[in-house]
């Protein structure tokens, strides 16, 4: 079924009354996901945002609680107010990325209430990629530029209209406002099929990577591959599946807030003990951790790789590290006796 962009825009604008709406807009830094009030503000022709939309569930800086000290006493307060939210224009890689983050923020023992309060109150409207960037490599992971996994409603842009697929119950509640849905013409169906069949031109073979890495912890491969890395962390901060964070305190006189902020396993202080001992005190160990975590440990724990091929780390890297080459290099590395 399809909906004209005019009708879709009307439904979108009507949603503003009940939902906070987040959508891609053009700003000084390129494309960013931001709050919008009208469909006319939305950038429709875009590859993807510079930063992943994970920040709407896992903000870069977030208050966990606040406290007030009076003499020897303390009062602790925690409030979490979350609006119902629609995220529009999420690309398939990022929608899948959120599903992978779900596996992190809920484990066999704990559920993160801040993350899931936001996640549960949000509806994801995914939009297929009609254009594919040279850094895109989602097809490597069995995903596709028109994959609907992780979206509640999935749209394919047909020019004047959208092809609409309603996937979840949450999606249904929003799609109920879509008016004058009609059948696709033969030409439109052909276009939909073409977009659905598309693959990223860049791909990396990950079929044997996990089992290869099982035997590579002490491999000399790690010795040199990271030499040019300057440890800036842009790869982690722009990654839709990276989730490491720090917890710290912001204090003013007798009042304070406990906050969590994005952190990265690539940061030297990340694992520094109070004693001064640091289990991952060199770049080699930290690069190995990043790769092992995404392509080995995460697979053993969750049955899936923790990379969706969005290519942001490749685009953002100031020294041209390319995760595709790193995977490829691991695939080809000679095994040594461990």
């Amino acid at each position: 079924m399809k909906i004209s962009k005019e009708k879709f825009g009307q439904a979108f604008d009507a949603l503003v009354a009940e939902y906070q709406i987040i959508a891609p807009v053009s700003d000084a830094n390129g494309i960013a996901f931001k709050g919008v009030k009208s469909f006319s503000e939305v950038k429709q022709d875009y590859l993807n945002s510079k930063l992943p939309p994970k920040a709407f569930f896992f903000p870069q800086h977030e208050k966990l609680m606040s406290y007030k000290k009076e003499g020897k006493d303390v009062t602790v307060k925690s409030e979490l107010k979350v609006d119902n939210t629609v995220l529009f224009g999420i690309r398939p890689c990022d929608a899948k990325g959120m599903q992978l983050l779900d596996m992190v923020f809920k484990n066999d023992q704990y559920t993160d209430p801040y993350y899931f309060e936001r996640r549960d109150k949000s509806v994801i409207i995914g939009v297929a990629c009609n254009k594919i960037a040279p850094t895109c490599f989602c097809s490597s992971f069995g995903l596709s530029p028109a994959g609907s996994e992780g979206s509640d409603i999935f749209l394919i842009d047909l020019g004047d209209s959208y092809d609409v697929e309603v996937i979840t119950e949450k999606g249904k509640a929003v799609a109920a406002r879509f008016e004058e849905l009609s059948e696709l013409s033969a030409d439109e169906q052909a276009l939909v099929d073409k977009i659905k069949d598309a693959e990223t031109s860049s791909k990396v073979d990950v079929s044997t990577t996990t089992s290869k890495l099982d035997k590579m912890f002490n491999n000399p491969y790690w010795d040199t591959l990271q030499e040019k890395c300057i440890g800036c962390n842009v790869c982690s901060f722009s990654c839709p599946t990276c989730h490491c964070f720090d917890i710290s305190e912001e204090v003013r006189k007798n009042e304070g807030t406990r906050v969590r902020t994005w952190d990265a396993c690539m940061a030297p202080l990340f694992t520094l003990h109070g004693s001064g001992h640091n289990p991952r005190d060199n770049k080699k160990a930290r690069w190995r951790q990043r790769m092992m975590h995404k392509f080995n440990y995460f697979v053993h724990n969750n049955g899936s790789m923790s990379c969706v091929g969005c290519g942001r780390c490749i685009k953002g890297c100031p020294v041209n590290m390319d995760i595709r080459q790193v995977i490829d290099g691991a695939n080809k590395a000679e095994l040594v006796v461990e």
């Binding site: 602790v76 720090d246 952190d263 001992h277 289990p279």
Partner: protein, 280 residues
């Protein structure tokens, strides 16, 4: 555990005791403010908690009390950083935050019907004290065979829990061996490093589990001794330390291989550690 695992309960610091002669380790006794908090804080020896010194931050410490000691929690903490320093300076009566209990614990079910050898060095003795105290309790003592404790420090003044050690000396339910690195005036017990004292004492490995905690050098040289005594990797346990933040297996900081030390550990058998990258 409460609904939001990031929010600490409030406990009162009732005693801030300088534990060692060098004044670098204090033992904090915290009191539960109400029955409900205590009810929700069901723990076992080997588990840890995140202590909040409000205004300074939060850090993880092993619980030194045993669940057989109601009403309180104790932590023996070395002064090394921002939070531990703030705790050391804290006036008695001050409220602190506590999140926990966290992590797994010593496999006391497996230990049932077996002998247990506890080997500790320096201030890594805290959760080992909890373990010994638990097994020595009247309700539990019958569940275990011989309990041997080999505990060492650089000098007598650095031993933790001196009064309790004196009690254990005369307690027929426990075989306590204390040692210091070099001879000291007035010291009549063992002198020597933990590995060589362990070799001298030569605890039998038959039907016996060993629990070893201490500085890396001590562990490194004690393990071969235990191996010589025919302890298998499956029968030796230790507790790992890693930098932690959330304590919930989410923030990524304490990740080693497939494990998160905060939720899958901190207690691991040597057999388990052999399967993990040596990154701790």
């Amino acid at each position: 555990m409460q609904l939001n695992p990031y929010i600490p309960i409030t406990m009162k610091l009732v005693k801030n005791l300088v534990e060692t002669e060098d004044k670098l380790i204090n033992t904090f006794t915290l009191e539960f403010l109400n029955k409900q908090d205590e009810e929700n804080f069901k723990y076992m020896p080997g588990q840890f908690a995140e202590l909040s010194a409000y205004g300074h931050g939060e850090a993880p410490f092993g619980i030194a009390t045993s669940p057989t000691e109601p009403g309180i929690l104790k932590f023996s903490v070395a002064k090394v950083g921002c939070v531990s320093n703030a705790l050391h300076l804290m006036e008695e009566g001050t409220m602190v935050g506590v999140r926990g209990p966290m992590g797994n614990y010593y496999p006391l079910e497996k230990f049932k019907g077996k002998n247990v050898v506890i080997i500790g060095g320096g201030f890594a003795f805290t959760t080992l004290r909890s373990l010994a105290k638990y097994m020595l309790d009247d309700k539990h003592r019958g569940d275990y065979g011989d309990i041997t404790v080999i505990y060492g420090a650089r000098n007598p003044g650095l031993l933790l829990y001196k009064e309790e050690l004196a009690e254990w000396e005369n307690n027929p339910n426990i075989n306590l061996i204390t040692t210091i690195d070099r001879p000291a005036e007035g010291w009549t017990k063992h002198v020597g490093f933990i590995p060589s004292i362990t070799e001298q004492i030569a605890p039998s490995s038959v039907d016996t589990y060993a629990v070893v905690c201490g500085p890396p050098a001590m562990i490194k040289f004690t393990l071969p001794v235990l191996e010589k005594l025919n302890f298998t990797p499956e029968s030796i346990y230790t507790s790992l330390e890693m930098r932690m933040k959330c304590g919930l297996g989410i923030c990524g900081r304490c990740n080693i291989g497939t494990e998160y030390v905060c939720k899958d550990g901190p207690v691991f058998s040597m057999a388990q550690l052999k399967e993990l990258p040596n990154e701790y």
